[in-house]
């Protein structure tokens, strides 16, 4: 794949008029003459260009497959029973089928971000022109697009340049998806390599999307002091007309905000949002309000507060239209990817659409021009609000009690609990509610994932979810929190300050809380983890739904995580980069450390940079409630850079883990770049993809996974201190694998010397050296004598 345009290379041409050698002419989008960095070995890599790197990772971190289904039913040969690694009619076995399924998920995720990016780029080019310059942070951000530079080997300068990148991504995604066809790839490790490729493609797609929108919409530009905005259901002024935007593509929400400004109605109408559209709306206007993560969708709708619901794309409940009708809120779909059977009214006059929505003639409409959504949404909200606000949608106490009384749990029904993803004890709470005690129902609200499966299965048709939400009405009103809105990229200057301390290990790690809200015990756990690691002076990053959950909890001082800790990329900072697509800035920061601090060439040089990051940058991703296919691809992008990811217990449903074996010494050797010798470095990082059973297990594992072969003795001692301290605090003992992480006596934390030395003696520990680590033999720089 070459850059878009005409590319002519002439190695040698002998003609009558003379000889031409090594002439290269490019006619197209790129004038890369202002970028002197030499092109690396893998610009625009194909599906197999980085296969050798992938194999190195996969040799260490073996897939552990956890099939979610015993069958395959992807073609008409099926269903095939693959139990016990049997082969199906096409010859595929269970492990290969699991990796294939993961690849499908990763392709869905990467395609979603890439198509989102395509829409943003197309729209912004229409509005601002393809020559509009990219700007993600002014002078503070020299490396404006680290992932694009790394993967594609080009330095994008304008919106138009991003189209070339998107062409490449779409090409690769088509190829990756085609590999999942029956009778294509037949080896599970090759599928896994393609998963990693999909993850890398996804990171580029996310970067394209976010730098495009940051460049044109005036979002915070790499700003550590991005505004603190309001978060939670309690922050909504319910006396005003309320618009709810749900999804990830901010264009319709921007149009709503613009229309309100134009009509001087900004203080008269509430713009509230769920999921990443909400974060982006607050990046555009801090007056917008974030309700919460995806799991808040149904509870907010059932609360009856929104007067109009506008959905764009991704993670929107498929029954959102039905739910909107339940509360009589007019509904506007705005994405070609999510039409919901609605009539396309894009070309109709706004007056007609508003009239139909207000009268109820049309419960919902499809409007595919984001520039038309604002007027329709605002005028409709203003028109329907006065009438809607006269009646509530929540159940009065007596109705909750009456419903609870028809529960048949005494006959061992309990199907609601069996349907609940978190096995919440709904029957017990219903029993108490029948006696007028709502406490247990309110407790369920905290841990509820908002799926309404309980309600779907109840044979008595008890409206369980509405009961939970109604019982917790007061609690909802008290949800008034603060979140620092998405700041975007990390500044080069910040990287210069912390690059050294991170690579040497003085800053114990960078921990990124990302992804969805399918938490095992509610979002509070995310907030607690963020605060604990910030307190321990790790750098904490957040994005997407996790960024919201991180803010939805107050500590003893009554403060949220974002009020307690600064938004700068420094030890003890809590850095909300923004929505899902802003995840690219987190992996981008790791890449920038390799490039800016480590001075490794970036351009088209993926393998070397990933090797650097894997061996030196103590970063860990945490997707505590990972649910989606996008989370699958986001995590895969981190893995290809050698960055481990921890998920919650629901994460086992992704069907496979990537786990190291600390007990197999042979797996943990690296080359010493200086001498070429192979050196044992211990299991660091021990896993690439790990599902923790509980928050406590996750926290200890996060601390452990921050260790890297390159840590200096001081850095390793700091990291060990946190690992051992958390282990002792949460599990009551010191870990029994300390000897695997101590390389020299100097690694031992001074304050724990006696205790650890005893363990080391018991284990027959031997000192090793600290190498200049690499997994790549061609990185050895030892000079031939």
């Amino acid at each position: 794949m070459t850059d878009k345009g005409i590319n002519l290379k002439i190695r040698e041409l002998q003609s009558d008029i003379g000889k031409i050698k090594d002439l290269e002419i490019s006619i197209g989008k790129f004038r890369q003459d202002n970028w002197t960095e030499l092109q690396g070995p893998t610009p625009f890599p194909s599906m197999t260009a980085l296969r050798n790197w992938d194999k190195k990772l996969l040799a260490r971190y073996q897939p552990f497959y956890l099939p979610f289904s015993d069958h395959c039913d992807l073609c008409t040969y099926g269903k095939c029973d693959l139990t016990g690694n049997k082969r199906g009619a096409c010859g595929i076995n269970m492990s290969t089928q699991q990796s294939r399924t993961y690849l499908l998920a990763a392709c869905i995720g990467a395609a979603t971000h890439t198509s989102h990016a395509r829409e943003l780029v197309t729209h912004t080019i229409q509005k601002f022109g393809s020559d509009h310059l990219l700007d993600t942070g002014g002078l503070a951000v020299g490396v404006e697009a680290p992932t694009i530079r790394l993967v594609c080997g080009i330095k994008p300068e304008t919106l138009g340049d991003l189209e070339t990148v998107l062409d490449y991504l779409e090409n690769q995604l088509t190829q990756l998806l085609s590999a999942t066809h029956t009778g294509q790839e037949g080896n599970h490790l090759d599928f896994e390599s393609k998963v990693l490729h999909a993850g890398m493609i996804d990171q580029v797609g996310m970067e394209v999307a976010d730098i495009a929108q940051i460049s044109v919409f005036g979002f915070p530009k790499a700003d550590p002091d991005a505004p603190l905005v309001e978060l939670g259901m309690g922050v909504v002024d319910t006396k005003k007309p309320v618009i709810l935007v749900i999804g990830h593509n901010v264009l319709p929400a921007i149009n709503i905000i613009d229309y309100l400004k134009d009509k001087r109605l900004s203080d008269e109408v509430e713009v509230t949002g769920i999921c990443c559209t909400a974060i982006d709306a607050t990046r555009y206007s801090p007056k917008a309000k974030i309700i919460g993560p995806m799991s808040w969708q149904l509870r907010y709708i059932r609360s009856g507060i929104p007067d109009v619901i506008v959905v764009d794309e991704q993670c929107i409940r498929c029954d959102s239209l039905i739910e909107a009708e339940r509360i009589r809120a007019p509904f506007i779909a705005t994405s070609e990817k999510n039409c919901l059977g609605l009539t396309d009214r894009t070309r109709d006059p706004a007056d007609e659409i508003v009239a139909d929505l207000v009268s109820g003639k049309a419960p919902g409409v499809l409007i595919l021009d984001p520039d038309k959504v604002g007027e329709v949404a605002v005028r409709t909200a203003c028109a329907v609000a006065p009438e809607r606000k006269k009646s509530g949608t929540l159940l009065p106490s007596q109705e909750i009690i009456d419903y609870a009384k028809i529960c048949t749990q005494s006959n061992m029904c309990l199907v609601c609990q069996r349907a609940c993803p978190n096995e919440l004890n709904i029957p017990e709470s219903i029993k108490a509610a029948g006696q007028g005690n709502f406490r247990k129902l309110i407790d369920i609200y905290d841990e509820c994932a908002g799926c309404a499966r309980c309600e779907q299965v109840c044979p008595q048709e008890i409206p369980l979810y509405t009961m939970i939400v109604s019982a917790a009405a007061q609690k909802m009103r008290e949800e008034t929190f603060k979140i620092r809105t998405g700041r975007g990229a990390i500044q080069d200057t910040e990287i210069r300050k912390v690059g050294g301390p991170i690579v040497l290990g003085d800053i114990p790690g960078v921990v990124a809380f990302v992804g969805c809200s399918n938490y095992p015990k509610g979002g509070q756990e995310v907030a607690e983890m963020c605060m604990e690691f910030a307190k321990r002076r790790y750098i904490v990053c957040t994005s997407g739904c996790s960024a919201m959950s991180a803010g939805m909890y107050r500590n003893e001082e009554g403060k949220t995580a974002y009020e307690m800790y600064p938004g700068s990329f420094e030890a003890g900072g809590i850095v909300n980069v923004g929505p899902c697509v802003a995840n690219a800035h987190i992996s981008g920061a790791a890449v920038k450390i390799a490039s800016i601090f480590g001075r490794r060439p970036l351009r088209g040089n993926y393998e070397e940079i990933a090797d650097y990051v894997h061996n030196r940058v103590g970063a860990v991703g945490v997707a505590w409630g990972a649910m989606s296919q996008k989370a699958a691809s986001i995590m895969s992008g981190f893995w290809r850079l050698g960055i481990p990811v921890v998920v919650g217990p629901h994460g086992t449903k992704y069907r496979r883990m990537l786990l190291g074996r600390a007990d197999r010494e042979q797996d943990w050797y690296v080359h010493d770049r200086r001498t070429g010798e192979k050196v044992y470095v211990g299991p660091v990082p021990e896993h690439l993809f790990f599902a923790a059973e509980t928050k406590e297990e996750a926290m200890v594992m996060i601390a452990k996974l921050c260790m890297r072969p390159n840590d200096t003795v001081k850095g390793r001692a700091t990291k060990l201190t946190h690992y051992i301290d958390l282990h002792r605090k949460l599990f009551g003992t010191i870990p029994d694998d300390i000897h695997l992480f101590v390389r020299t006596a100097m690694d031992v934390p001074v304050t724990m010397k006696g205790e650890i030395t005893r363990v080391l003696e018991e284990r027959g520990w031997k000192e090793t050296i600290i190498p200049d680590p690499t997994l790549l033999s061609h990185q050895i720089i030892k000079k031939e004598l």
């Binding site: 016990g84 217990p649 086992t652 449903k653 297990e697 599990f731």
Partner: protein, 194 residues
């Protein structure tokens, strides 16, 4: 064949599930064994194992059975049946409260992974396990791990002692009440000791 519903409503069982043979124990509780295991009851399954391991998740310390915790019954079983215990890390504080320090500590997902390796010598170094008994993990996590073992660890038999039906295990209870659970746990503990 009797159809038993999995605990998780949509956890539709595959062709190879704990449904081969239904035995009746106390109070008509159905004990379900997978094909080939059915002829052997629970106690026998445990007693005949040469190197069994009991894997205990954190919920065992939270769940009440009668006036004790589920963990107390499990430790009694381990002691009477001379079964090695691996507890998941967050279970350890509850073990320490009970002065139980013999357990190996390892995350559930790592245990599952290692059990798929027929050469793994076990946390006690005494050689491969031939029976893995699970209890006290989140239901859905236990299910995925048991699935991993069903498909990729043919050398090992699996059992769960939770009161919920796990189709991927070789042996599982059906979904039973706390009272039936108690009776049956007691019966198993007695049987193992005989």
């Amino acid at each position: 064949m009797t159809i038993i519903e999995p605990r998780q409503i949509a956890g539709v069982a595959g062709p190879e599930t704990a449904s081969g043979s239904i035995r009746r124990a106390k109070h008509s509780v159905r004990i379900i064994g997978r094909r080939g295991m059915g002829s052997m009851g629970w106690g026998d399954g445990i007693r005949k194992a040469k190197h069994p391991v009991l894997i205990i998740g954190h919920r065992a310390a939270e769940i009440d059975i009668d006036d004790k915790k589920m963990l107390d019954y499990l430790l009694e079983l381990a002691q009477k049946g001379n079964i090695s215990v691996i507890a998941t890390p967050h279970t350890n504080p509850a073990l320490l409260e009970r002065d139980y320090t013999k357990a190996g500590i390892m995350p559930a997902i790592e245990i599952g992974h290692r059990l798929t390796d027929p050469d793994w010598k076990g946390i006690d170094g005494k050689g491969p396990y031939d029976l893995a008994i699970f209890a006290g993990l989140p239901n859905y996590m236990e299910s995925t791990i048991l699935s991993g073992l069903k498909h990729f660890a043919p050398q090992i038999r699996t059992m769960t002692l939770d009161n919920t039906y796990q189709p991927h295990a070789c042996w599982s209870f059906s979904n039973i009440s706390g009272r039936d659970w108690l009776e049956n746990l007691k019966a198993i503990i007695e049987h193992v000791e005989d």
